[in-house]
Each structure stands twice: as structure tokens, then as C-alpha cells.
């Protein structure tokens, strides 16, 4: 097991290197000029050129890539062109809101979607099943920002139950922290709930038709025990896989959600950096996202051994 974990962690190094090369090249080829953005609309072409030189943006591709790669190798993500702050500091400032949003969304989504899928499979063909499937279609179809605006209108503006926007650090207390996250998590979780509920239902339907379930029933096992002990555990591997894949959905959705709810997270940092062509920040954040994604998939792979003892690494 440990050898497998170490092998997987080592395998992330070439993956991250390829991501780094790809991201750097893509940004190099993309149009846009941070010097023009910095100089402002009234700047002369000569001013823009001077700023470009001072930022080293006039250097050749290989020189720039070499310098950046060397810094990354030494653990330095670089300095933002615009804020003059280390990229690691900017990520540090922004990681808590995004992590909070993702964790709350994940907990919310799994705790709603799994029981929904189980019940839909149990009550296949009934009104409950159709309701769950209709909800799943709705979750897939309605964009995050629409859900966000509707929720903010109802629960913040009309009812005044929750704030419209912002983020309060966890260190300031649980209630201020959670009240800022409820609406964004529901908005972001819609697609995720739909995805997990559908896969749970489909997998459970397959498992519920297995011989061992019939045997359990014949032995007089209760319905709850059949569903949640015998069936769900055996259906868990595909569900957990989808939960892992869905982290990518969450990262993408967080960009929109953080804008709608003015949450100062990594998603907004990424969008702002892209619009301004703040290359070091874009590169740093994408590397981080890639690493998180690789790590989550490793954890998912390891979790298989818990749900299915036949799997050994």
C-alpha cells in the first residue's frame, strides 16, 4: 500500500511538469498584454513598452520559461505582476474561502444526493423516483448563476435570512462562517447533487438486482439494512469515483459562484488574473488546482480498498 502511495505521488511530478509546460505555453501564445493593462488607457505606446521591459515580458520564450521553471523547482511560485505580492501569499489569502465552499458543498451534496439516489432506486418507477429524476434534470440544466441569483433574491433580499455576499473566516466563529456559505453551497451543489443522485440510483438498481440481495431478503434482513449495509456499500465504488471526478466540476463552478456571491476565493483570483494577464498568478493557481485534482483522485483510489476489500494495491 505504502509503495503504491509513494509511486502515485512520484507519478504526479511528470504530470505537474506537463501541466506547467502546457499552461506556460498557452499563456505565452494567448493574446493580451499585462503592460498595457498596467499602464492604463491614457498611457503612450512608449510607456507600455517601458513597463513591458521592466517586467521582463520582452524576453524570449525559453528564457522566461527557464526562469519560471527554476523558481518553481525551488518552491517559488513567483510574484504577481500587478499586486507585487508573492503568488503563494495571494493563494494563501484566497484558499480558505474556496476550500470552505467546496467542503460545505461536498458535505451538502453527498448528504442529500446519496439518500435521494438510494430512495429513488428503492422506489423505482414511483412518484418519488420521478421526482428525484426531475430534480436531477433540473440540477443539470439550470446554470449556477441563475440558481445563485434566485436564492439571493429569496433568502437574502426578500426574507433577510442570509447575507447576499461575502465571506467570514472560520476563525471569526461558526455562525458568521456558515451563514455566508449556505446560499453559495446550495447554488454550487445543484449540479453535483444531480450527478451523484443519478449515479447512486443507477448503481443501486444494478446492485439491488444481485443474488446476494435476494439472499439477504430471504434471510429476513430489514429494508434499511439491505439498502444501506448490503447494497450501498457495494455500490459505493462508482459513487465515490463520481464524487472525485465532480471535484473538477466544483472547481469550475466555484469560479462562477464566487463571482455571484462576491466570495474572495481562488476562482475569482483566477478570473481576475486571466482578464489582466497576470501570468504568474494564473500559472500558480492552475498548478495548485491540478495538484488538488491529482491528490483527490489518489484519495479516491485509496478509498476503494475500504469499500471493496478485494481491491489491493
Amino acid at each position: 500500500m505504502w509503495a503504491y502511495i509513494i509511486r502515485r505521488i512520484l507519478a504526479t511530478i511528470p504530470v505537474m511538469a506537463i501541466v506547467a509546460l502546457f499552461v506556460f505555453s498557452l499563456l505565452y501564445l494567448a493574446p493580451g498584454d499585462p503592460a498595457a493593462v498596467i499602464a492604463g488607457d491614457q498611457a503612450t505606446p512608449a510607456d507600455v513598452e517601458r513597463i513591458r521591459e521592466s517586467l521582463g515580458l520582452d524576453r524570449p520564450y525559453l528564457v522566461r520559461f527557464g526562469a519560471w521553471a527554476w523558481d518553481i523547482f525551488r518552491g517559488d511560485l513567483g510574484t504577481s505582476i500587478f499586486t507585487n505580492l508573492p503568488v503563494s501569499t495571494m493563494i494563501q489569502q484566497r484558499i480558505e474561502p474556496t476550500l470552505s465552499l467546496m467542503v460545505v458543498t461536498l458535505i451538502l451534496a453527498v448528504s442529500i444526493a446519496v439518500p435521494m439516489g438510494v430512495i429513488a432506486a428503492w422506489k423505482q418507477g414511483t412518484t418519488i423516483d420521478r421526482f428525484v429524476m426531475a430534480f436531477a434534470v433540473l440540477g443539470f440544466s439550470v446554470p449556477v448563476f441563475v440558481v445563485g441569483y434566485v436564492l439571493a433574491y429569496i433568502f437574502a433580499l426578500e426574507l433577510d435570512w442570509l447575507p447576499v455576499q461575502g465571506y467570514t473566516p472560520f476563525a471569526n466563529g461558526f455562525f458568521p462562517w456558515i451563514e455566508n456559505l449556505i446560499l453559495p453551497a446550495i447554488a454550487l451543489g445543484g449540479v453535483y447533487i444531480a450527478l451523484i443522485a443519478r449515479i447512486t440510483r443507477a448503481t443501486m438498481l444494478e446492485v439491488l438486482s444481485q443474488d446476494y440481495i435476494r439472499t439477504a431478503r430471504a434471510k429476513g434482513a430489514g429494508q434499511r439494512s439491505i439498502l444501506f449495509v448490503h447494497a450501498l456499500k457495494n455500490a459505493a465504488v462508482p459513487i465515490v469515483t463520481v464524487v472525485g471526478i465532480g471535484v473538477a466540476l466544483l472547481i469550475g463552478g466555484a469560479v462562477v459562484t464566487e463571482s455571484v456571491f462576491a466570495i474572495p476565493g481562488l476562482g475569482r483570483l483566477t478570473v481576475d488574473a486571466i482578464l489582466r494577464r497576470d501570468y504568474p498568478v494564473i500559472q500558480g493557481v492552475i498548478l495548485l488546482f491540478s495538484f488538488v485534482y491529482v491528490l483527490v483522485n489518489l484519495l479516491i483510489d485509496l478509498s476503494y480498498t475500504f469499500f471493496d476489500p478485494r481491491i489491493r494495491y
Binding site: 493574446p31 493580451g32 498584454d33 499585462p34 498595457a36 493593462v37 498596467i38 499602464a39 492604463g40 488607457d41 491614457q42 503612450t44 505606446p45 510607456d47 507600455v48 517601458r50 513597463i51 521591459e53 521592466s54 504577481s80 500587478f82 499586486t83 507585487n84 505580492l85 495571494m90 489569502q93 484566497r94 441569483y149 439571493a152 433574491y153 437574502a156 433580499l157 433577510d160 435570512w161 442570509l162 447575507p163 447576499v164 455576499q165 461575502g166 467570514t168 471569526n172 466563529g173 461558526f174 455562525f175 458568521p176 456558515i178 451563514e179 463571482s259 455571484v260 456571491f261 462576491a262 474572495p264 475569482r268 483570483l269 478570473v271 481576475d272 482578464l275 489582466r276 494577464r277 497576470d278
Partner: protein, 531 residues
């Protein structure tokens, strides 16, 4: 059921609430914190290195100026006690007023001023003109400095007081010694508010605190002039990229003042009795259809004039501000309406019914050969996007071959600097807009300059316009200034330095428990209080 009770009922009852802390902001503390939604993200904080308006707006609270313009556009002493000018107009001697201190407790000295001026000059068009004729700039003692010029520059005080970027902000010498093309790393000013650097989250939040040692002038505050009295302890800027979110936050009382609500949301805000809505900046903005004078088709004066003959400024303005007629004006000229230098001289081609027949005839006379007109239009800026859609339709109706490049502002910024032909990565036209405060006269109005390679993007080369600018700078009195501006306007229209698409205003909105908000070219935080 309201927010706190909802949460307590739904969550706290089930939890061990004794161990979970809640917000502890008292009513008094809330009243002493002004929460502001700025027009854009404060991504950097060096008003000389980065000349975006949002940086200037934040900087005006942190750094003070030698002079400041008031709401009559008159320069007034701010950090200086006064100045004297030699009889030949070449030697200017300034004296700082007493009691000026930086936020680190150090006194403001003349050497700080000299270093700040030296850093500002290469980045400012007027500064560059002054530097070209500067003989000497020296500190005489702690509070006095002398500026000796080789030739007269009557607009010197205006250059030191103006509101357009970059403003001459005074920094400590050690910071002002930074190369003007390199960003500073310390944010120490002597203005009425202190920047709280450790709470700055670029893209999200910026915090300013009242600077207790600031000594305001005795005169009433008026824009950048007079006594800058801060009435709150703390100013929090919250960046909200989504206007709908900012609108909801203002309605919900989560923020106090929103700098630039979009026109579509104004009716919603006006319906809320807790919110006041008014014009933000009476000097407004001027829309710009900027043409490339180097390459066909707009290297032809007649083809540029064809655009003027056909364009309907009303179409552009309605695309920008909708049906609110209070928000726009036709503009047969280049200067800001309502200001002393405003002129419509030579502007007939922009007045009256639009003349498509004349436009087509001018196209023919200009030798238009169906070359593609590469329109580079930033879609992420509502102003340029709206104007770009009108332009595409206009040029097509004129019979031009439109190559519409929908892109973002960052790419527009890069592409407009390219002098290549349009079919080799260059461009034919792009849209922008200019703050009215920058267009009250030619002093800092880059876009109206027509000095070829030294001009703004599009590189118009019209010596008669430049002659007018020189006459304005040398004008001994207001009559001569007005005559120079008439000349600039008529020559710039005749040669179509650029095509003005109209004059438009924007709103600001604030909670009614906030008082002291004024109209101006930037948000002024002095005199604003909250109950």
C-alpha cells in the same frame, strides 16, 4: 423571521451554541465603518506606476497633493502654504504648510516633494513637458523648494493640481526614489487615511483607517481641495465584479455606497426608500471611436469624415445608457460640456440629421476599395461592447467591409499598440472612452493630441492641432485659451483625430444613513459620515 433568528432556530438550537462565537460588531463600530463598492479591483497600489482610475481613487485618500482642484476646476493650495513666481515667470518657489506628517510619523520635507515630482514627471504628459524645460528642482530647506525653468510654463500649478492620472502624490523620498516604471512596495502617504496593508486582499478587499495626525486645511472641502476631514474611523472597499450582487448588497444594507451602479439596475435602486441615487461625476465621460491613421481605410481623411457624417451619437448613447435622457448629450466636439473651455467650433458635421449619402460620397472620394475594417471590440467592457455593436451596424450600412474582432480588454490593449497593417495583426478601429475630467482642456488630454508617433493609439499627425495645443499652453489669459481650444476642436474634427460618440454620465448610489456624498470625478471620502 430574520437572519439571526433563522440561523439560531435552524442551527444553533441543534448545536452547542455556547462554544460557537457570533459576530460582535457593535452598532457604534458599524457606524464608524464606511463600506464602499469601488468601480474596479484595486489590483495594485502605486498611482504613478499604474494609472488606472481605481488606483487614483484609492490613492487620493492615502497620499496628499501639493495643490488640488476644487469643484470649479480651480487649483487650490493643499500641502503648500503658498508659492512665489519670479517676474520672468521662470523661478517658482514653494513653501509647505506646517504640521504635515507621513503615516510612519516622519515629517513631510521638501526633499520628499522633490523626489516625488521627479518620479511623477516621466509618467505624466504635462510632467514630461515641464521636465523638458526644467533647469533645476531643489529643496531649499525642510519646508521650501525651488523649481527653475528654462522657459515659461503658465500651467504649472494646474499640472500639480489636476485630477487625471497620474496625479502628483507626495511620497517619502525613500519610496519616491523608485523607478517610475517599477512598482513601489511601501504605501506610506501623508493623506487623511492610512492604507491597512495587512488587510488588503487584491481583487476582494482594501481597508483604510483614519490618520489621526492629519491636519486638514481650514477651508471647506471641495473635491481635492480644502479641509479633508474624515468622519469615519475605517473605510472598507469590497470589490464586487457582479453588479447584481452589488445591487442586492446595497439594498440589504451590507454595503453603504456603490460607486458605479449600472443603468439597468437604477430603477430597482430608486424604488428602495433607503437608497439615494444621483449622478456620480458631473464631468461624465466621452465615448471614442478611435481610428488607425496609418493604414487604409482610415488613413484617408475623407473616409474618416464619412464616419462622422454617418454616425448617430444618439444611437451610441442609447446603446450605452438606455432611454434615460438625463444621462447623455450629443457632443459635436472633443471637450467636456459644461466646462469653461467647452466649444463646438467646427462641429457642424456631427450636428443635425445624419447624412448617409454624404458618407457614401466621401467614401468614394476617399478611394475606399472594400478593404476590411478590422474593428477590435472588447466584449468584457459594457461600454465598448455596446458601442462596438452600433459601429458594426453603422459601417455595414455605409457599405464598408467589416471584420469584427470580438475580444477582451486585455487583448485590445495589446493589439491597439501594434502598427502593423490590419491584415497583419494590426487594427482599423477600436472603442474606448475618456473621463470628462481629463477632457476639460488639452493639458492632459492625450487622445486629442495629433503628434504622430507621440500621439495616442491611431497616431494621428495633424500639425494644426498641435499648434492649437501649444497656443493653449502659452495662452496668457482665458480669452486666448478659449481661442486655442476653438482651434483645436475645429482642426481635430476636420482631420478626425478620433470620432466622439457622445457625452454620457453615470450614477452612484448610497444608503440614506450616509451623508456627505458629493458629485465629482472621483469618490471623495472626506466629509462623508454614517449614522
Amino acid at each position: 423571521m430574520e437572519r439571526r433568528s433563522f440561523l439560531q432556530a435552524g442551527v444553533a438550537a441543534a448545536a452547542a451554541s455556547a462554544g460557537l462565537s457570533g459576530p460582535a460588531l457593535s452598532q457604534g463600530a458599524a457606524a464608524r465603518t464606511l463600506r464602499f463598492v469601488p468601480q474596479a479591483n484595486l489590483a495594485n497600489f502605486d498611482p504613478i506606476w499604474g494609472t488606472q482610475y481605481v488606483v487614483r481613487n484609492a490613492s487620493a485618500a492615502v497620499w496628499d497633493t501639493l495643490y488640488g482642484v476644487n469643484d470649479k476646476l480651480e487649483p487650490q493650495p493643499q500641502m503648500v502654504e503658498g508659492h512665489t513666481v519670479s517676474s520672468d515667470g521662470l523661478t517658482w518657489t514653494f513653501k509647505l504648510r506646517e504640521g504635515l506628517r507621513f503615516h510612519d510619523g516622519e515629517p513631510v520635507l521638501a526633499k520628499d516633494v522633490v523626489a516625488s515630482i521627479t518620479r511623477w514627471m516621466p509618467r505624466d504628459p504635462m510632467g514630461q513637458m515641464i521636465r523638458a524645460i526644467q533647469q533645476e528642482l531643489v529643496a531649499l530647506d525642510d519646508r521650501s523648494f525651488r523649481w527653475v525653468l528654462k522657459s515659461r510654463f503658465p500651467k504649472l500649478i494646474y499640472a500639480l493640481a489636476k485630477t487625471n492620472t497620474p496625479i502628483l502624490f507626495i511620497m517619502p523620498e525613500r519610496i519616491a526614489r523608485t523607478d517610475p516604471f517599477t512598482q513601489i512596495t511601501e504605501y506610506i502617504g501623508s493623506g487623511p487615511m492610512r492604507f491597512v496593508r495587512n488587510e488588503w486582499v487584491p481583487g476582494a478587499k482594501a481597508v483604510f483607517q483614519k490618520f489621526d495626525q492629519y491636519v486638514p486645511r481650514n477651508e471647506p472641502a471641495s473635491w481635492l481641495a480644502g479641509g479633508k476631514r474624515i468622519m469615519v474611523d475605517r473605510l472598507e472597499w469590497t470589490v464586487m465584479p457582479d453588479p447584481a450582487t452589488a445591487s442586492a448588497a446595497l439594498q440589504n444594507g451590507e454595503v453603504d455606497w456603490w460607486e458605479n451602479p449600472i443603468t439597468d439596475l437604477i430603477p430597482v435602486l430608486r424604488r428602495n426608500r433607503n437608497i439615494a441615487v444621483d449622478i456620480a461625476d458631473p464631468l461624465g465621460n466621452i465615448g471614442s471611436f478611435r481610428m488607425n491613421h496609418l493604414h487604409p481605410p482610415f488613413n484617408s481623411q475623407k473616409i474618416r469624415q464619412a464616419v462622422l457624417a454617418a454616425m448617430s451619437q444618439e444611437d451610441y448613447m442609447r446603446a450605452l445608457v438606455g432611454d434615460d435622457n438625463n444621462l447623455w448629450k450629443a457632443l459635436p466636439g472633443f471637450f467636456t460640456p459644461g466646462t469653461p473651455g467647452y466649444t463646438e467650433a467646427g462641429g457642424d458635421i456631427l450636428k443635425g440629421p445624419r447624412n448617409m449619402d454624404l458618407a457614401k460620397r466621401l467614401l468614394q472620394e476617399g478611394g475606399y476599395r472594400n478593404e476590411p475594417v478590422v474593428c477590435v471590440v472588447a466584449q468584457d467592457q459594457p461600454i465598448t461592447k455596446a458601442m462596438g455593436d452600433v459601429t458594426a451596424d453603422l459601417l455595414k450600412r455605409m457599405g464598408m467591409n467589416v471584420d469584427f474582432v470580438a475580444t477582451d480588454w486585455g487583448t485590445t490593449g495589446q493589439r491597439r499598440a501594434m502598427k502593423n497593417p490590419p491584415n497583419q495583426g494590426g487594427w482599423s478601429m477600436f472603442h474606448s472612452w475618456h473621463a470628462g475630467a481629463d477632457c476639460v482642456n488639452p493639458a492632459a488630454y492625450n487622445a486629442v493630441r495629433a503628434n504622430g508617433d507621440g500621439a495616442w493609439f491611431g497616431w494621428p499627425n495633424v500639425p494644426s492641432v498641435e499648434q492649437g495645443v501649444t497656443e493653449w499652453f502659452e495662452a496668457p489669459n482665458e480669452t486666448a485659451e478659449k481661442a486655442a481650444m476653438d482651434k483645436i476642436n475645429s482642426e481635430a474634427i476636420e482631420n478626425v483625430v478620433y470620432a466622439p460618440t457622445g457625452f454620457f454620465l453615470g450614477y452612484q448610489a448610497w444608503r440614506r444613513n450616509v451623508s456627505g456624498v458629493v458629485k465629482g470625478p472621483l469618490p471623495f471620502f472626506w466629509g462623508v459620515s454614517k449614522s
